[in-house]
């Protein structure tokens, strides 16, 4: 048996919903895959597509972006703006050959601790099945710069 590939995943989450959901998962003692590094931001509206690119640039195999359900945004419509942006950005990544399977989006509320744990498990499993993002990591390697993730 070859060793199981452990993907590196970066999750950009909003502090009001998904981060609180992750917190709930923790306090509920739910166990989930340890492959995700969480970056907490004020709102999904603050999650610039640059963040996703930066995560890939530093060697991530996958990215997860998550925030409040529509209608629940602390800032009333940050997530609506984000949703449009994601749709366009996702199409762009797809067109340039960065599989949309590697960049996932979700809504997770503060009450959905178990959804969070399940999602992390399933995203990790999906990206594990896709394997390391070799094409991108080859480009990083050519730059000689460290990919410190």
């Amino acid at each position: 048996m070859s060793e199981l590939f452990e993907p590196k995943i970066v999750a950009f989450v909003c502090t009001y919903c998904t981060y609180a959901g992750a917190d709930l998962a923790g306090t509920s003692r739910l166990k989930y895959a340890p492959n995700v590094r969480i970056v907490r931001l004020p709102c999904t509206g603050r999650i610039s597509p640059m963040f996703i690119l930066k995560a890939l640039q530093k060697g991530a195999d996958g990215v997860l972006v998550s925030g409040c359900h529509p209608g629940d945004c602390h800032f009333t419509h940050g997530n609506y703006h984000a949703r449009r942006r994601w749709m366009v950005f996702r199409a762009l990544l797809d067109f340039t050959g960065i599989s949309p399977e590697r960049v996932k989006f979700s809504w997770i509320s503060a009450a959905e601790g178990s959804k969070f744990a399940d999602l992390i498990n399933s995203v990790t499993e999906d990206i594990r099945n896709l394997g390391p993002f070799d094409q991108y990591q080859q480009l990083i390697k050519e730059t000689e710069s460290p990919a410190t993730l």
Binding site: T143, E144, S145, P146, T148
Partner: protein
Amino acid sequence: MTRILFSDKLDNCVAKWRSAGLAVIGPVQEEAISRYAAVEKGTDFDFGTVLPDRSLKELFFPQTEPMLRYTIKKNEIDTADFTPPQGKRIIFGARACDASGLEIDDPLFGWDYKDEFWFQRRNESVIVTIACTKADDFCMCTSLKLEPDSTKGADVLLRPIDKNKGWLVEELTDRGREAFALISEYLQESSEPALPTVVVPEKFNLDACVTWLKNPENFESKFWKEISMRCIGCASCTYLCPTCHCFDIQDEGDTYSGIRRKNWDSCSFALFTMHTSGHNPRSTQSARWRQRIMHKFNYFPGKFTVNSCSGCGRCSRQCPVDMGITETLQAISNL
């Protein structure tokens, strides 16, 4: 009697050079652009284009190149230098303007700090120039007092003979003689005449331009604003130029470790001279275009006694708004 290299022997020559450890590079037509690139056999070459889209400069001074690796620790900083890549090579089929460009830049890279990346590559490269028998509307080497068969920067000069049959060989330097000694078995004595080189009309009076540029009164002339009004401030002219040599040093990485790189930079960009304070001494595009012209025909020759332009015309050929050195110097000649 001169020696001739027949085109049908080119395959053998390439093989010979390669087996002697020389990488062979020449003008190549790729799907999207033409450039100087590695070739493996005679048919890889494309001698038909007037001038490759991209200049020879990038083989000596690439658009981005790592210089050193750093690691910052608690009490010390470790650094490791990158060394220039080693490897002898022969550039077969350079244009005279491109080869001249290299020689123009030599004093610049060796003037104060000797740029080992540049000189290592220079010392390991044999440049074989092929005299031009074709030119297009943008070629202007003669205006720069160079010729389509200029030997400047070349180790060997080849003159095409009729019907693409081959080239008359003129060895110019020891390095050239050495490289051609390897293929001497494929050279034949012949009295076949070389094709005449192309006549490139003179487009402007260089001396008159230089005199005008040297006059300090013209620094603030309205001319600069008028001529550069349509300049959009991209760097296609400087990056395709065989003599433009400005670079920027960038660190890529993070607080703890990374790579220091040398990247092309261009005086066309506002950021080129932007101070940290926000003040920009060249705040307008006209000031930036003036700098480019002044540098090429006034400051550079002032320091190194040679104009920083070899007349390839790429700046005009590729300009998105149809500007370029030719137009500007023509306008100055007519002032």
